[in-house]
Symmetry: none
DNA sequence: AATGAATGAGACTTCATTCAT
DNA sequence: AATGAATGAAGTCTCATTCAT
């Protein structure tokens, strides 16, 4: 943190009492609970205590509202991961930290982040490009992380990245808070499974 | 055996040309392309060349139509995996075969199977129970597969199962046919990544 | 009753096992419970254990089905009233007996009779004529009954008839079986109220 | 008091030209012409020159629209009767006035009032309670009116009330404007029939 | 006499969105 | 920035009815 301290809000010329953020919050909450197509503008408005028409003071269309939520979500995950990365230098430690941050973001109450995993860009053609671009920006970060790993020769790094992110993202499907493992533990176990190798040492059964 | 036997088992007044299967096909196609909420009964009907109301001769509600598609999908994946398993005895070979069968089912043109991965049961409360029950039936098969693996002591077998299935299922999100790797190759790479161990040092084991 | 005795059914050429009567029963039951517009052919069919299309083996349209029920209903009320009239000669006794018979018919389980009171002919233009004609046939009977009463000069006999029948018919709106008074009692009280005169004798308050 | 007062009490952003009343009018007109089940939202909308969906700006469901019409109807009848009662003190005069007011309300062009008699609450389960409650409110007024009558001992006052109201209400079934008697005349005749006593012998009393 | 599938119209209702105020 | 009313299209589903079998 630099000079600008807590009390002094950044001088954005947005009316201080704009309720756009509230709208985004509500939309995020509903999108990630019910999906995009399963959520109506009415519901979002009701959640904020507005009338449906009023939403259009802040966002031109439902699609754009999603895009805004999505952007915030990617931002949050990026931030979380970057903060986590800042604490480690070892490549395996770094990827583990990234997994923990990613999983915490998409499993906990950060609705924006969860939307990024929940909503398929292809379902909203009008903004598909924008969504994919944002998601790609984030995933390139993972490409770098995986590339930095010291791996056995001929390891398929792309498959590794996809496997890891896939496992993490899919967990949103079955994870329920208060379950056996916390997001942090879960992330670590996934990484451990990959790192250690599962073929029993002695048997070397292989093919 | 008299005259009226083999050819006409009991087809008497059965209207053999029910178009229910076509409806299921169309529904599966659209559900997995556009999602459940994003698909309309109108579209399904149009795809079969029926009027929307005619769909209700075969399925009482949209929800039930989904449930029927879903059931067929689980059936198909189960069958595919079981057939694949029949060819192997070694636990690692078996799980690899299951991964290949699973991935081929949910990435190729088997729309029913793809719907199982695409649609979240929680999005359709009216039939959530039914969907989850079917999916669970299938997943228990995986629990057995993972349990059969000879693994280092204290390996978290649940995490392993979730990781593997998660990675497979999520691939539906990004996979495009004609890509770099076929479903079969992809599945094998995922399994290989897990089996070998990626830490450089004791890379001795493996295939 | 003439020669044709009980065991020998009149030689109608209707197939003895026709289920048309069952259909009529079911239709009557539902029409008088839910009204005409509020009852569907599906419901009627289900009540008889048929499919909707099968109803059309017996009745060409829903309207005609109503007309048939209605006809049976008028028939039943007429019969009941005529039987009741057969037992009395005194005009007041006769009208009281008619009221009792009428009320018992439209309040008890005779669904056909109840439909006659429940359904407004005007709601079913296609058969309105037929319904009204049948109802009129019955009401002419009441005109005769009222005309036969020895009444004070200048009594409005038409108003009397309308009032009496109106009170009787409307009771279908509020009457619940098992209530304070039976249909028979109720009918008698109505007649008594009319016959006795309610102005208190001595006061002669009137206008 | 400053400038901005009297003329604009609080009308600020109130869109004064709501068409809800027009919708109610149209609904009442159609409900009492065709019955509740026999009337469609389309028809109502067309009658007001709206699109069907626009009706839902004002009423959440067809049922609620009926409830609103019904409420207005009860209100109107109550008002009419109470106004009529205000002019009389003699109990017989009062009940006669009530009958006249009631009958004029449900036979003339007050569609709201007519709906109250036309529609059976039991046909619309979702709002049955509300309708019955309103109707009961009105009928309690009649209980009081009848109780106030000086009647021969042991007269069944409940039967009297039901008979009178039944006769009045049922007249909606057969009455056609421009007929022999006006609603006012009809009501008076009904009351007269009850008051005088119709047995020939002691016809002394009366008007 | 009855079935099962389908029709075609239309039911009620909801959707995202617009716009004058 | 927000409202209340409205739009126009479309949503799921139901209706009476038809017809080959």
């Amino acid at each position: 943190m630099t000079a600008a301290t807590t009390a002094t809000p950044r001088a954005r010329i947005v009316h201080a009492d704009s309720r756009a953020p509230q709208v985004l919050d509500a939309a995020a909450r509903l999108f990630c609970r019910q999906g995009y197509a399963g959520t109506t503008m009415r519901e979002i408005a009701a959640e904020v205590g507005m009338l449906p028409g009023s939403l259009y003071c802040h966002f031109a269309t439902k699609d754009e509202l999603l895009a805004a939520v999505y952007a915030r979500g990617v931002e949050r995950i990026c931030d979380a991961v970057e903060v986590a990365l800042g604490r480690h230098e070892d490549p395996w430690r770094r990827i583990e930290a990234a997994c923990v941050a990613h999983l915490e973001a998409i499993l906990r109450d950060d609705d924006d982040a969860r939307v990024v995993v929940r909503v398929r860009p292809g379902d909203v053609p009008a903004v598909e490009r924008a969504l994919v671009a944002q998601r790609d920006r984030y995933e390139s970060l993972w490409t770098a992380l995986v590339d930095a790993l010291p791996l056995p020769p001929r390891t398929d790094r792309r498959a590794l990245r996809l496997m890891l992110l896939g496992a993490l993202n899919w967990s949103q499907t079955w994870y329920r808070p208060g379950g056996a493992a916390s997001p942090r533990q879960l992330a670590r176990r996934f990484v451990a499974l990959l790192g250690r190798g599962l073929h029993e040492a002695p048997q070397a059964a292989g093919r």
